[in-house]
């Protein structure tokens, strides 16, 4: 609390949830609301909380936050015509075999890694989630590091760190974004043929131009080298 000024504008309050004094990545979207929208958001959250206090559905609170999150991010990229990574075509590669015979590779930008194989961003060992959030600008400018996660890795050996999104759900249950158990189950059931030996994860808050120009082709080759017939992408 020591770094909070004695007076605070509504804008400062909104921004404090996005890497500020009250940083909470579940609510960093408040940065993208107007002051009036922020007031309406708080009012809706208070009303939903009061309903829960009187026996209402706790999901109401989640839904209010979700609806405002969607509204806030709808325009966060600005004019679509000026979006630097916009494509006007949609390249599509057709599957050449049925899913029951296909080998699937999983790639996610969740920031997961295997315990003992920490990517050690910026050469730092055991970086905390809080520090990752503090250094988000450095991550966004840095090279991407891909972590290989053998698909049979026990869930309790999987770690996560990512300065760009709220990781508590992904830490509590990696399957929310890294669905290794479900994919293995689908193989056992015969719904898909097999899995690539490794799944891959990286911190998606990274230099986007490098991903398009360099990492994209390299990682596509990685999938081919693993014999994958298709890739399931789960961006965060």
């Amino acid at each position: 609390m020591a770094d909070i000024a004695p007076t605070e504008s509504i804008e400062e309050l909104r921004n404090s949830f996005a890497y500020g004094s009250r940083s909470d990545l579940n609510f960093k979207f408040t940065r993208d609301l107007s002051d009036r929208e922020f007031g309406d958001f708080l009012s809706a959250m208070f009303a939903a909380t009061a309903r829960v206090a009187d026996g209402g559905d706790p999901l109401d609170v989640v839904n209010v936050a979700y609806e405002w999150q969607v509204q806030a991010y709808a325009g966060h990229l600005g004019d679509p015509d000026k979006f630097p990574h916009r494509k006007t075509d949609t390249p599509l590669t057709v599957m050449t075999k049925p899913l029951t015979e296909a080998k699937i590779m999983l790639l996610t930008s969740s920031g997961h890694f295997v315990d003992g194989d920490d990517p050690e961003p910026f050469g730092e060992t055991n970086m905390s989630q809080t520090e990752a959030e503090t250094r988000i600008v450095e991550f966004v400018k840095s090279e991407a590091t891909l972590s290989a996660i053998p698909v049979d890795t026990p869930t309790d050996k999987i770690r996560v760190r990512h300065g760009g999104y709220p990781v508590q759900a992904a830490a509590m249950d990696p399957q929310v974004v890294l669905p290794l158990e479900h994919l293995c189950s689908l193989v056992a059931d015969g719904a898909i043929g097999s899995l690539a030996e490794n799944a891959y994860s990286f911190v998606g808050a990274t230099a986007q131009g490098h991903i398009k120009r360099t990492y994209g082709p390299t990682w596509a080759q990685l999938a081919k080298d693993q014999g994958a017939d298709a890739v399931l992408l789960v961006p965060i």
């Binding site: 709808a74 689908l186 719904a191 081919k224």
Partner: protein
Amino acid sequence: MPTVSVYVKSFGHIPELMGLSRSVITQHPMGRPLGAPGDGERQRAVINMALGLLANSDPTIVEFPEPYRLA
């Protein structure tokens, strides 16, 4: 390489902007694209929908029809 992606609705405008071939959009909060922690049934349903799109030979963006739920 055939691909399919899963996005939360907050970023559901990205697949079209970036010309992605096949995408599922979920009505889930950021950080939980496949479902809530512990909601294996929902997580599997989203994965099944996504993998099902791989057979499509035309660009496809679909929304998973069910709202977020707690486990």
